[in-house]
């Protein structure tokens, strides 16, 4: 390298002159690696890359993991996988720290000092399995066994369902806050209603030239953020030329709204009204070029634009402009997002947004709404679906009534994630025996009798069908990239072992010795498919390739046009939002939102994510309350003043962030902090807005209406400096004008 040459020149040059002066380095020293070399010039060893699947959220991106000397060093997106094409978000990158977290459970433990004592005693796995088998065996009635799952890997969900079915127990109930906040359940129901399939649709951002996003923070946490970001990038400076126009409708200016060309602030729960008004204007004024609007006239017959504008506080003029913009576009698309689903009128609201796509006839068209091709169907398609909050409430009711004797919590943290007013923490006290399968002692684990820690996803097997999917059929594979770091055990293996221990019907239904053989059998159905990007002669060969590639997918794009059921001439419902709490006593709307870094709180254990600034407030390591400057002024508070936020269901304290991008009646609090357990980086940090949320649901889909609570604020007079990246003195200016 050039430096070496210059060093040699140096020797020649100095031989005569400088040696005499005693300044030349001695020649024998030349063998030493001089300190002028940056250490980055030295590259030790070769790395191995393993393909697998990210499980930090439900999107299911393909990843490749860099492994050196048996240690995972870095997670990157799988460049071949059609969903995320080599890209990965912050949470996906940080998965490494879940693997190597210092506070992970290292073995199976039993809580000895009573629940909540956090005194644990290690247990051999055999003992633990015997104990569990005995608990199941001694149930008076298999119906008294309940399983609550979180974001379950598809194969585990299937195994669990089979096991519970064979035992005669009710099927697993699943709930995770992330899915609730993005309105997964409501979206599935909307898809069923409007697209004729419960598959989550793909909104073709890349092909769209005007995107109206109603509360979908699709660049942060909503659905499949990496795939959507990729599409967004191409929409902006796309390969097709032109630059798409993005309008974001939501009460708080999210990072997605920051990337949008226009942010339309509105009152919570009125997104649907805006969509209705836009539709009415388009239909009434015969805007655009999508053909006749006559079939849609009936949809909007009851809509009064002025009323809608008043309710949402979006000026009519703005609505007109936007309607024009949307209707005139070549490829407009409207996205019903998560903040709609978090209202008691979520269903009608989302319906109103989806109707806009119908009005401009964008189903199955470029820049419109698609479904992913299912590819080979069968066992693989039987994926885990998030259950509605109502079914969780049913479970809580059963637990409270003493109808549950044994509760298994698999990959979920309901004590933290459910609104505390839903009463899960009280209900769990009524269950005689609780078994938890999480790899950390989290809030639910602290209330369990037995914890059988699962592997982290980097140590375990599985597969995932992404939903919403990519532009083609795809299934990603998951395989261990390192040997398990601790004496943990895959929950799937635990259930298989349990089945064989229980004998009888469970053992018949679950005959596999371990999860790998179960997977091999499941994956075999893809082997014969003609769509695949690779072929193999034998099932074993296919299984090897499947692991190497990180999954299976079709070679070419296969966008699927939805078969839209005829809506009939039924007018769209106009349902005003309902809020818990009296407007006089509780003047503000509470708007909890998933943190970009911590999502619903599962990222809070990872120091990288804790240190990652929130894109909008640049705060981290804490919880804050976002207030419009006007609201802050009227309350007499400023940045870093601690306020007490009180809802009819609870209260919390957190410092204020004066946030110019929020509707003045709205108080936004990020979800994710407020852990009492869950490792050293998460616990005793910030507060959990779910303590404030009313346990109410969207009447149609039964999903949690997390945005339907009113609160009031009280200044406490105390201060707490938030760890912000930004200098508050700089006041958000780019330059000093």
């Amino acid at each position: 390298m050039s430096k070496k040459i210059s060093r040699r020149q140096f020797i020649k040059f100095t031989a005569g002159t400088a040696t005499a002066a005693g300044v030349a380095p001695k020649l024998h020293r030349m063998l030493q690696e001089p300190f002028v070399h940056p250490p980055e010039d030295l590259l030790p060893g070769q790395a191995t890359w393993y393909a697998s699947t990210c499980r930090q959220c439900s999107a299911g991106c393909g990843i490749i993991v860099r492994v050196i000397n048996g240690r995972a060093k870095k997670i990157e997106g799988n460049p071949l996988y059609p969903l995320n094409r080599g890209k990965l978000c912050a949470r996906g990158q940080a998965g490494l720290q879940a693997l190597y977290h210092p506070d992970r459970l290292r073995n199976a433990v039993r809580q000895t000092g009573g629940r909540g004592s956090r005194q644990f005693e290690p247990l051999y796995w055999d003992e633990a399995l015997d104990l569990l088998a005995e608990k199941i065996g001694s149930l008076s009635d298999p119906g008294r066994l309940a399983v609550l799952g979180g974001l379950l890997p598809d194969h585990l969900y299937r195994l669990l369902s089979l096991l519970l079915d064979s035992l005669g127990s009710p099927p697993p109930v699943t709930f995770d806050l992330h899915s609730a906040l993005e309105g997964r359940g409501a979206a599935a129901r909307l898809a069923q209603l409007t697209l004729g399939s419960a598959e989550l649709p793909v909104y073709d951002l890349e092909g769209a030239d005007v995107v109206f996003s109603f509360g979908a923070n699709f660049l942060e946490t909503w659905m499949s953020p990496v795939a959507q970001s990729l599409a967004y990038g191409n929409m902006r400076q796309g390969p097709f030329g032109g630059r798409g126009f993005l309008v974001q409708f939501e009460p708080r200016l999210s990072a997605t709204a920051a990337s949008a060309d226009r942010w339309i602030p509105l009152r919570p729960g009125t997104e649907g009204f805006v969509a209705l008004a836009l539709g009415r204007i388009i239909v009434e004024e015969r805007l655009g070029h999508a053909g006749s609007h006559r079939p849609h006239a009936a949809l909007y017959q009851d809509v009064d634009v002025t009323e809608m504008a008043e309710a949402s506080q979006v000026p009519i003029e703005t609505l007109r402009q936007l309607a024009q913009l949307f209707a005139d576009a070549e490829h407009p698309v409207a996205i019903p997002g998560g903040s709609l689903a978090g209202q008691q009128n979520g269903g009608p609201g989302m319906l109103a947004v989806q109707a806009l796509n119908r009005v401009v006839a964008q189903f199955g068209r470029v820049g419109g709404v698609f479904l992913s091709s299912p590819g080979p169907s069968g066992a693989l398609r039987r994926t885990a679906k998030a259950d509605s909050f109502s079914s969780v409430q049913d479970l809580i009711g059963r637990m409270k009534a003493g109808e549950v004797d044994l509760l298994l919590v698999v990959g979920a943290n309901p004590v933290f994630e459910l609104p505390s007013a839903a009463g899960f923490a009280e209900a769990i006290e009524r269950v005689p025996y609780v078994v938890c399968f999480n790899s950390f002692v989290d809030e639910t684990g602290a209330r369990a009798d037995l914890i059988l820690p699962d592997h982290t996803y980097l140590e375990s097997w599985g597969y995932q069908v992404p939903h919403p999917g990519a532009d083609r059929p795809a299934v990603s594979s998951q395989q261990p990239v390192v040997r398990p770091v601790h004496d943990t055990r895959a929950s799937a293996d635990v259930f298989l072992a349990l089945a064989s221990r229980l004998g009888g019907r469970p053992a018949e239904v679950l005959p596999w010795p371990d999860e790998v053989s179960f997977l091999e059998e499941t994956v075999r159905e893809l082997h014969g498919s003609s769509l695949g990007a690779y072929t193999a002669d034998t099932p074993a060969g296919f299984f090897a390739l499947w692991r190497q590639y990180g999954g299976w997918w079709s070679e070419k794009e296969l966008p699927l046009e939805p078969e839209v059921p005829d809506p009939g001439a039924q007018p769209l419902p106009i349902v005003p939002p309902l809020f818990e709490g009296n407007q006089q006593t509780y003047p503000f709307h509470l708007y909890p939102y998933p943190s970009v870094a911590l999502s619903d709180g599962r990222g809070a254990a990872l120091p990288w994510l804790q240190e990652t600034p929130d894109p909008m407030t640049t705060a981290r390591w804490g919880t804050w309350v976002e207030l419009n400057p006007e609201a802050a002024r009227s309350l007499g508070v400023e940045d870093n003043d601690i306020v007490r936020v009180i809802s009819p269901y609870g209260e919390l304290e957190a410092p204020v962030v004066v946030f110019p991008g929020i509707q003045p009646e709205v108080v936004a609090i990020p979800v994710g902090q407020g852990h009492t357990d869950y490792g050293r980086f998460a616990q005793q940090r910030g507060s959990n807005p779910m303590d404030l949320v009313a346990p109410v649901v969207d009447s149609e889909s039964g999903s949690l209406a997390w945005g339907a609570t009113r609160v009031r604020l009280e200044p406490t007079g105390r201060k707490q400096a938030l760890a912000r990246l930004e200098s508050l003195d700089g006041a958000g200016r780019e330059t000093l004008g």
Partner: protein
């Protein structure tokens, strides 16, 4: 020696006010020796209490330094973007203080100003000790102090060489040079007094003075050579003294940090250094005079003259400050404007007004002879100047760094106990060194006093006619 005592020191006008001036003239050389030596030998209880107190502060500061080295620079209040704080501020302050010694002994020696005689040694000692304290800071503020020798250019197996383009390298060599130069200067002028002390003491002191006197006998040839050497020193050390603070100022001025990137910084810093150094010297003289009862050597005339110098330096400082400020204000560049706004009406305002008041009021006060020649008032004025100049450096170093071109990256600095302890350590360390020095080394340069007196006393020396004392060198 009554016959040698005819003319009186000082000009006619001033003499009338001088108390004790006659005393000195009537003293014999031997009495002068004793007057200087006796206070050195008195070690009262208060003295030892003072030494113990200062020693304790130094020890605490050393502990803080150890803590800093053990845990890292994070134990100070520095952050991004305020990478330099109290350490560099105090560094600049001490380097500034060190400028008075050279000013007094070299510049005034060259200008043949006679009132400098009794205070030269005190001033030179101040230079050396202040520089020693200053020289600690580049070490203290290093993130890896144990690697400081990597800045020294010597052939090594690491194949490393320092970057002579870095102002820190200039700092290193200039401060070493100044420290070496001023210490040698101090010592050279000390040799005859060491011989004097040798001749009048016993025990360990005798051994010490004997070693330091190097065998001085006071032969004509020795005096002659000493004079020549001191002459050369005086000439040579003045450019060094000018360069040192210029280089310190370039530590700041070479960056493109707004308010640092200024061409006036070098002379501005030099003048500021002289201002604070002379003021500090005045304070120290007042204190030492009282503490060591040297009233008959350090008299009102000296304070008066020193006070005038301080006043002139203060006026110059004001001029340079204004010249810099005006241009910055006029330029109206965004960050500079923001910083000036911060100073005038923002969060830095208390410091800014403290700086201005503490620097400007003494100038006005020192215009009165009464203030100049009353030790207590002079002390007050001198202290005020030093508070002002410290604040000035604080504003330059910390104040400017808190703002930069990108408002997103601004920052605020809060000092920690570690920094404050270490800063206190150097103040205590300086005082301690100075006190010990004054007990070991004749604080008043006896031979220079005698020389001065001789010059005044002899109209005809040998065969030579000497017209006026002031012209002799």
């Amino acid at each position: 020696m009554p016959e040698s005592a005819q003319p009186r020191p000082g000009s006619e006008s001033e003499r009338s006010e001088l108390d004790g001036s006659l005393l000195l003239v009537e003293r014999t050389d031997s009495e002068i020796n004793q007057a200087v030596l006796q206070p050195m030998l008195r070690g009262g209880r208060n003295f030892w209490i003072l030494v113990a107190g200062l020693g304790a502060v130094v020890a605490w500061g050393l502990y803080a330094w150890g803590y800093l080295v053990t845990w890292g620079i994070g134990t100070t209040g520095k952050n991004r973007p305020v990478y330099w704080t109290l350490f560099i501020t105090t560094f600049v302050f001490w380097v500034g203080i060190s400028h008075a010694g050279t000013m007094i002994s070299a510049v005034l020696r060259l200008l043949k100003v006679d009132w400098r005689r009794p205070i030269t040694r005190g001033a030179e000692a101040m230079t050396s000790f202040a520089l020693m304290m200053a020289a600690l800071y580049p070490l203290i503020h290093l993130g890896r102090v144990w690697k400081f020798y990597w800045m020294i250019p010597y052939p090594n197996g690491r194949f490393m060489w320092p970057n002579f383009q870095s102002p820190l390298m200039w700092d290193l060599v200039a401060i070493s040079t100044y420290l070496i130069g001023s210490t040698l200067y101090l010592y050279l002028a000390l040799i005859p007094d060491m011989a004097m002390a040798r001749d009048h003491t016993g025990g360990w002191r005798f051994q010490l003075y004997r070693a330091l006197a190097l065998g001085w006998r006071g032969t004509e040839a020795e005096w002659h050579k000493l004079h020549r050497a001191l002459g050369i020193f005086s000439v040579a050390i003045i450019p060094i003294f000018l360069s040192v603070h210029s280089i310190v100022s370039w530590d700041f001025a070479v960056t493109i940090q707004p308010r640092w990137h200024s061409t006036i910084f070098a002379p501005y810093f030099v003048v500021g250094a002289i201002y604070s150094g002379l003021a500090a010297l005045a304070c120290i003289l007042v204190i030492v005079r009282r503490g060591m009862r040297l009233g008959e050597f350090l008299r009102a005339e000296h304070f008066n003259a020193l006070g005038k110098l301080v006043m002139v330096a203060g006026m110059l400082w004001t001029y340079f400050w204004f010249a810099g400020f005006l241009v910055e204000w006029y330029g109206n560049e965004p960050v500079t404007r923001e910083l000036i706004q911060e100073e005038i009406a923002g969060r830095l305002a208390p410091l800014f007004y403290l700086q201005m008041a503490a620097n400007l009021i003494p100038i006005g006060l020192l215009a009165f002879r009464r203030v100049r020649s009353t030790p207590r008032l002079l002390l007050l004025a001198g202290l005020s100047v030093n508070v002002g100049m410290y604040t000035e450096r604080l504003l330059i170093v910390v104040g400017s760094l808190q703002r930069n071109d990108i408002p997103f990256n601004w920052g605020t600095y809060r000092p920690t106990w570690v920094e404050i302890s270490i800063v206190a350590m150097t103040f205590a360390g300086f005082a301690l060194l100075y006190i010990l020095f004054s007990r070991i080394v004749p604080y008043v340069p006896v031979w220079e006093i005698k020389e001065g007196r001789l010059r005044y006393s002899l109209r005809r020396i040998g065969r030579l006619l000497v017209p006026t004392a002031a012209e002799i060198e």
